[in-house]
């Protein structure tokens, strides 16, 4: 029957080449026997319409051929949980590193709006390339495990091995968050001492520079006025932080989650950095006697200020990124809670 030949040819085309003849010969024998039975039932050779109906009820050629293939999945169910865990870890860390790297590059080179889409595409490309690489490695492991199980017995153990130390810690759920009063008081005292230390710095710079103060005094450099603005911004920030902690102690809010305080403090912490970055001419260190010493120390001074500029931008970039990531994490937790509640 021509229709049966065409059906078998459609199956053949999707079979592994080395097994095509053998499988098709067997399938033909089975289907021809089935056809004979059908013809006996109706009492005559099938008419074209009956033949169409009979072939039409057979499984789709693609499905028939697919079932003869030994491996259906690039990464099988035994290996998949390990693959999924590793690919998520790789994607997350590569994403974080690529974002930091691009943010630093944007910060240290001449900035332009056109550079942002390029940076985004670059981050996506890097993440996808790493995910593809991990997938390829796992596909090879899967292939070796399926096709050569005797030669790679250790692959079979990959998914079976685990360590008690790898078990995740149980995070305290809302309402069970334990923070003792003693810990809250100690925290406030430490912040108070930190503020005292900051306030003493202008009068006693030895508290930050130590014995190095005497060496620095001998150098021809001194601080630019912008560092005074930076200093007072840090002082205000520390006072606000300490007052908030004391108010919390007084009102009993120290027992709560203090999420608003956490994010507000992080946000306020960026202000001194932003003030420092606004230094006129990007000068944080200047010469004590510019007229007399510029010729000798001018180049060195430019290098020092360039290094400070780079450092400040990197710190600000990292602070902003961690702030955004924390906000994102908080949003994700809140989103998941809403979804769980909706169900």
């Amino acid at each position: 029957m021509e229709l049966l030949d065409r059906y078998l040819e459609a199956v053949r085309k999707q079979l592994p080449w080395e097994r095509q003849d053998d499988i098709i010969a067997e399938l033909r024998a089975n289907l021809e026997s089935q056809l004979e039975d059908r013809q006996e039932e109706v009492g005559h050779p099938l008419t074209p319409d009956e033949a169409k109906a009979w072939v039409g009820q057979l499984p789709a050629p693609r499905m028939m051929a697919a079932r003869y293939r030994p491996q259906q999945a690039l990464i099988g169910p035994a290996l998949f949980p390990t693959y999924w865990f590793i690919v998520r870890m790789v994607a997350m860390w590569v994403f974080v590193l690529a974002v930091i790297e691009n943010a630093v590059r944007l910060g240290t080179h001449a900035w332009s709006a056109a550079a942002i889409p390029v940076a985004i595409i670059s981050v996506i490309g890097i993440v996808l390339a790493n995910v593809a690489a991990v997938t390829l490695v796992f596909a090879v492991i899967e292939y070796a495990g399926v096709h050569y199980p005797g030669r790679f017995p250790q692959i079979a153990k990959i998914t079976g091995n685990w360590d008690l130390n790898d078990l995740p810690r149980i995070e305290p759920v809302k309402g069970e968050h334990k923070r003792t009063f003693g810990l809250a008081v100690t925290d406030a005292i430490i912040h108070a001492l930190l503020l005292v230390w900051i306030l003493l710095l202008p009068r006693y710079p030895v508290l930050i520079l130590g014995p190095g103060l005497f060496a620095i005094d001998a150098l021809p450099y001194t601080y630019a006025p912008i560092l005074a603005d930076f200093y007072w911004a840090v002082v205000i920030f520390s006072v606000v932080h300490l007052v908030w902690k004391l108010v919390d102690l007084y009102t009993g809010a120290w027992m709560g989650e203090r999420r608003l305080q956490h994010f507000t403090v992080k946000l306020l912490g960026m202000i001194p950095l932003a003030i420092a970055l606004r230094a006129p001419g990007h000068l944080w260190i200047v010469l004590k006697d510019p007229a007399a010493e510029f010729a000798k120390y001018g180049t060195q001074l430019a290098q020092i200020n360039e290094a400070i500029y780079l450092g400040l931008r990197m710190v600000l970039a990292i602070v902003v990124i961690t702030f955004v990531l924390e906000l994102g994490k908080l949003w994700l937790v809140s989103f998941r809670r809403r979804v769980v509640r909706a169900h």
């Binding site: 499988i23 010969a25 067997e26 399938l27 024998a29 089975n30 289907l31 021809e32 026997s33 089935q34 039975d37 057979l58 499984p59 789709a60 499905m63 028939m64 079932r67 003869y68 030994p70």
Partner: protein, 109 residues
Amino acid sequence: MTVAENQFENLRLELRRGCLTLAVLGQLKQEHYGYTLRKALASRGLEIDESTLYPLLRRLETQGLLTSEWREEEKRNKRFYRLSADGEAIFARLLDEWNAINAAIGNIL
């Protein structure tokens, strides 16, 4: 197909998958070629799609549970399958497992 029907169909296929292997091994204590095996199973109430049964025979043979030979019958070359020695041992163990599961389900229900 509704979501519920689709869900039922997936669970039904999952439930049948292991049972089919057991039925095929049991039926192949006697020699059969693909089509007569399908008819024999159908006559005992177990309908199996061609795209499930014929590839399954190949897989079981690859695993060493079946032996096969090409032979002419009624002027047509056919591949006949039979349970191998290893297949008999595995079948006996699977049958014990099946009976245990059956008994447990009976107790539960």
